[in-house]
Amino acid sequence: MKKNINIGKIKQFKSMRESLSLQDAIREANRCLLCYDAPCSKACPAGTDPAKFIRQIKFYNFKGAARTIRNNNILGGVCAHICPVEKLCEQKCSILALENPIDISGLQRFASEYGEKFGIEPLVKHKSNDNKIAVIGAGPAGIGCASVLAKKGYQVTIFEKENAGGGVLRWNIPEFRLPKVALERDFNNLLDIGVTVKYNTNIDSEDAIQSLMKNGYKAIFIATGLSEAFRMDLFYNFSNAIDYISFLRTIKIKNGNEALVNKNVAIIGGGSVAIDSAVSAKACGAKKVYLISLEHLGELPADQEEIDLARKMNIIFKSGSQITGLVSDKNQITQIKGKEIEWMEPEKFIPENARQIKGTEFNLNVDLVVQAIGTKPGKEILKFSTGLKTFGKGILVVNENFETNIPGIFAGGDISNGGSTVVQAVGEGKKAAENIHIFLG
């Protein structure tokens, strides 16, 4: 059984779920059917192998379980907190035919924490060869790739523009969903195996790739994620309209944001990140928090559990609504105007398909508007190398080996999949590493 979400903890910016106790973990592991060719393990994009670590817990081999997790997935401790397991491993759990799935993420977190608490041996640096590899970006994809290459003996250097690693994990995912200690634990494992990270190193010069190559790097892995948030033209000139990336970043760094106390906040968007923003605003002490989305409640891309949480926190859903205008005072928005919509064609959830309904006008008094409508790659990526192929909003084109159109240049994670999950990014990083290894013969 999953631990319940504790709203009190959310407001303190502490992990919103308790860890499983030893008793919980043993009970849960004993429910596992220990499947042959286990479907949960096959469903993990990063190859964490839950079937194995659950078996290890069942047979009281707790440190073995912790080793399995960190050997297979360098961000296994992080993933235990934030993987959408109900769409991955737990969705494939055989016991679903009989009862609730095994709480795989709970067990994963238990084992990772157990390993640390009971002194699992640190990882060690592998004997290195002469091949230098550059990884751009110390987010999940870069970390996943670097971990595999370092274990194979490559000298891996990650170039990271921020002063610390983790990408979205460090700066954006709310603390109550992903405590910093979990990232710290996993990130230290990366350093222990001998990966070098060069912080405050923004790769944005013309032909950055060529100069890295000149400096002896034999292959390059681009893992820069999606660093630029989309913004709506309507809000362009107003200083109290910001994007969710910077909004969440401030809260994550300060463990809250006093400026939001008793303020009215409107979040625009209906996905998981919009809910993260709304719940965070509420946790900071905001008075009214509105969640405005074109999609109706049942059509929201966010998960049911997230929606339930938002409701428990009294987030006001303005779903099935479109913003029609605003009222401002100098460069401050004071009111948002909107109308309810209906879809002209079914199942096409795009603005062009929305028709506003007469007589449904509403006005919301707001102090802050947060736009949570997506992200795209930073513009600097295009400068990396002439001829690097992209599509859509600037997503890098890669083949099934995660190689770009330029030989020796690989990419993975959000920058090339367009935005997915942490575990997907780690998995792509790992696979890219294998292909880099093959590429270098």
């Binding site: 059917l33 220990l34 499947c35 042959y36 060719d37 479907p39 069942k58 055989s94 035919a97």
Partner: protein, 413 residues
């Protein structure tokens, strides 16, 4: 009104409204507890074993219990380091008299344990005077270290015969001799009791066992200030052993005495198992320690419904019915062969049967990695049914008979 079957039995010439009794232990420690047990529906009580203070000072160690756990399942067996009652004999005798006065139609069996002939005789007389219906002679407590008491006596035919005879001479009450399972063959001891005049046999008392060890300090549990001992084990884990002994007793032509079965009974199905193996009377301790007196309600209702469904008028119709089918393994036929059958609809695709058959049987299961369905290779299956037993879906794997003359079959060639 729910229809109720007649659950009454006649055991040692005494009528019980139902066969369900408390076995001698803390569950029948004093009058207040016993009253509540009677009120809950138990047909009889074997009172906690009485002894004489002048012969033996009872010491109750602390902690006194340890359990055997399996996976997340706690308490599949219980170990106790308890001796006979530590209450003054006069209090217990007063309680027995009070209980018989308040519950004249319920049965009270007095369990006694002496050290000398005089002890046995005195305890028998005191019990009879207090109104007990039956005596149970405790020849089987594994915690009584004395060489002339407890299970040491139960391993010594002569002592069993002699003490039983003393009791029979001192009292007119029917006598049950309670057996220890800490012995290879129970029959000679039971026959010794019969020769001493016993009217019935009860079995089993607890099995000497070690349930657990604290791996931090290498001390077995219960950890009694740094020491422990192999002591009495009871509960669900011992039921298979108890069933074997009860069946042995019932099958013995020379013995031919009524049996009170004890060991791991918790449900009406457990009860029925023992009845089918030849028991007339049934006793329970660990089930009550774990769940309380209330469990008798479900035993009564469950057994009653079973009898009504099968049109069984009296428990006598079923007592011993399963023992007819128990033979020596050498008598099994070799011309009968089964193979397992997997219901594809019910298969949930866990593949546990595949793993077990691969590593523990005859590599006779195929597992389709795409559909995740298991199927049986009929030519390789030896019909051990390991697969059926590991399957988490109760009715997914069954079996069918194969034609042993024509089949090309792993078990035959």
């Amino acid at each position: 009104m729910t229809k109720k079957a007649d659950l009454s039995i006649n055991f040692c010439g005494v009528k019980f409204e139902n066969p369900f009794c408390l076995s001698s232990s803390p569950v029948g420690n004093h009058a207040e507890m016993c009253s509540r047990a009677y009120d809950a529906g138990w047909g009889g009580i074997v009172y906690k074993t009485l002894g004489l203070e002048k012969s033996f000072k009872v010491v109750m160690p602390s902690p006194r219990l340890s359990v055997y756990n399996y996976g997340n399942k706690k308490f599949v067996g219980l170990q106790n380091a308890e001796q006979i009652t530590d209450r003054p004999i006069k209090d217990n005798i007063r309680d027995i008299a009070l209980l018989k006065k308040n519950y004249p139609n319920k049965i009270l069996i007095s369990s006694i344990m002496g050290y000398t002939d005089e002890d046995w005789s005195e305890l028998a007389k005191m019990s009879e005077d207090a109104g007990a219906d039956i005596l149970e002679l405790n020849f089987s407590c594994p915690q009584m270290a004395h060489k002339s008491a407890g299970h040491r006596v139960g391993q010594d035919f002569h002592a069993v015969a002699a003490f039983t005879e003393v009791v029979k001479k001192s009292s007119k009450l029917p006598v049950i001799a309670k057996m220890t399972p800490n012995i290879t063959d129970m029959i000679p001891v039971a026959i010794a009791a019969k020769e001493g005049g016993a009217d019935a046999i009860s079995a089993i008392n607890t099995i000497k066992a070690i349930t657990d060890i604290d791996i931090n300090n290498f001390t077995p549990l219960p950890n009694i200030h740094g020491h422990s001992a192999a002591t009495g084990f009871s509960g669900p884990s011992v039921k298979p052993v108890a069933m074997r002994f009860v069946s042995d007793l019932y099958n013995s032509k020379d013995l031919n005495l009524p049996i009170s079965a004890i060991g791991g009974i918790e449900t009406w199905i457990d009860a029925l198992h023992f009845l089918l193996l030849g028991a007339t009377n049934l006793q329970v301790t660990t089930g009550i320690l774990r769940y309380g007196y209330r469990i008798v309600e479900d035993m009564i209702e469950g057994l009653s419904d079973f009898m009504i469904e099968r049109n069984i008028k009296s428990l006598n119709e079923i007592i011993g019915k399963a023992t007819e089918k128990i033979v020596d393994p050498s008598e099994f036929t070799t011309r009968y062969q089964v193979i397992s059958v997997i219901d594809e609809e019910k298969c949930i695709g866990c593949g546990q049967c595949y793993i077990s058959c691969q590593d523990g049987a005859n590599q006779a299961i195929k597992f389709d990695p795409k559909t995740r369905k298991a199927s049986v290779d009929e030519e390789r299956c030896v019909g051990c049914l390991l697969c059926k037993h590991v399957c988490p879906v109760w009715d997914c794997i069954s079996y069918k008979e194969v034609d042993t003359k024509n089949a090309k079959h792993a078990a035959i060639f």
